[in-house]
Structures are given as C-alpha cells and as structure tokens.
Amino acid sequence: MIVNTLTKALTGCKIGGSDPVALGHSCAVPFSFAQRQFVCRNVRRFQLVLLALACGLVLAGCAIPEAIPAESDQGDESATVEAIQTRVAETRAEQAAAKEESMAAASEEAQDQTTAVEETSPALTIGPTAAQQQLLDKLRPQGEAPELLNEVWLNSEPLKLADLRGKVVLVEFWTYG
C-alpha cells in the first residue's frame, strides 16, 4: 500500500542520518560544509513533508472507509489495511445495531400510538375509557346551555335543546362573511 511504499522510501534512503549527501549523483561531488548543511536541511524538510503526507493518507483512509476495501483487493494485506478493515466492519456492525435499535423503537412507538388511538376511539356501549373519564372530570359543567330562541332554520325544522336530552350537542356561533 501507499503507506508502506512511503515508509520503505523513507527508510531505504537512509537520509537525515549521518550522511545526507550519500544520495543521488550529486553526492559524488564534494560539497562545502554550508552546502552540506543546506542539502541536509532540505532533505529533512522533504522527509517531514513525506511523513505528514503519509499521516494524512492514513487519516483519509480512516475517514473514508469505503475506499479501503477496493484497494485491499489488489493483494496488499498490510497490518494497517487489516486494522482499517476491522474498524470498518466494527463501524458497520455498530451502524446496523443502531439502525435495528431505532427500528425497534419506532415500531414500539407505532404500537403505542395504535393503543392510544384505540383508547380514544369512542366506546359508546361500554362507557368512557380511563383517558376519557379523566377528560370528563376536567370538563366541569359550566351551567345549563340557554335555549335556542330562533324561528327561522335552514337544513332542519326548528330545534330546541330541551328536545335533545341524551344527545351531545355542539352549538356553534358563526357567520359566513
């Protein structure tokens, strides 16, 4: 893998150690001390940049786990790849577990809602449910509804509240305008 190649490149070069000018053809030319210092510094800088790049790649590999399996098909089964694959597998397992959990929670919630709906639906023959009784206790009588005094009606014969005992009546004051 790239990380390995980079590491090999770094260790194989034997730069930054005792003799940085042993590299390349230019090393054969004798350098002044200042030149040697300059080359050494730059080689070290290059080495640092390479290290930084290697670290960056490893981090990127962790951040984008999808990219890793594609590369591993090429046969390079380094320890890093294995570690990353393990991590990806773990992450996927965690995600699956989390998804299952959330689905289970959702279905439980749905069941609760169904129960709630069943509770609030009118149970006319068997009396109010516990929830309805609770609501009824809150709805204290506020006095007898005044009788309707109108003579002109639409959609109906004139109605009197007195004739509607035993029924639940909604009187709504409205205007079409």
Partner: protein, 102 residues
C-alpha cells in the same frame, strides 16, 4: 365540523350552527343559504338575525363552539379556530359518558 357531523351523527351527536350576522349583507337569508351550499354544510343552522340566541348565551366571539352534554350542561367552550383534535376527543368523551333520562 362537516367531518364530525358525518362521523358522530349516528352516535347521537348534533351540530347546530347559529348564524349571527356581523354585517348587514349577512342578514340576507339567500346569502346564508348560498353559503351553506358553497361550504357543503349538512347540519342544522338557526338564523339569529335579531341576535336573540347570541345574547342569551352572552356570546361575544365568532366562531365560538359550546359543547353541551347529554343533560344540557355546557362542558367546554372553544373560542376561535384550532384545537380540533382536542375538541374531537371532547366529543368522543361526552358521547361515551353514560346518561340516564330523568
């Protein structure tokens, strides 16, 4: 309202719209009739042009809904729009309440 009428009329639920006009043109019976057709209002509507029922209820708002139980007691007053699901649960509870005629 229309939905409630359709859902609960068979269970003993009666909606009465009291039409109390705010402006002069709303007193015209023909206009009210047209609006019933336009809004597909199926329930009974009392024409309260002289504000008699409005006054006896000491009502001051449009719209205002008085939920009256089987004994004729006002149990819940809803002023203005909204709170429809709560109002519906009030209807269901009042319908479920036992009633014995005196």
């Amino acid at each position: 309202m229309r939905e409630w009428h359709q859902k609960y009329a068979d269970d003993g639920f009666v909606i009465i719209g009291v039409h109390t006009p705010e402006f002069r043109h709303e007193r015209d019976l023909q206009n009210v009739e047209n609006s019933l057709v336009r809004l597909s209002i199926p329930f009974a509507v009392a024409i309260d042009n002289d504000w008699k029922t409005w006054r006896s209820y000491h009502n001051r708002y449009w719209p205002a809904m008085y939920f009256i139980d089987k004994t004729g007691q006002i149990r819940f007053l809803k002023i203005g729009e909204g709170q429809y699901s709560y109002s519906e649960s009030v209807i269901q509870a009042l319908l479920a309440e036992p009633y014995t005629a005196n």
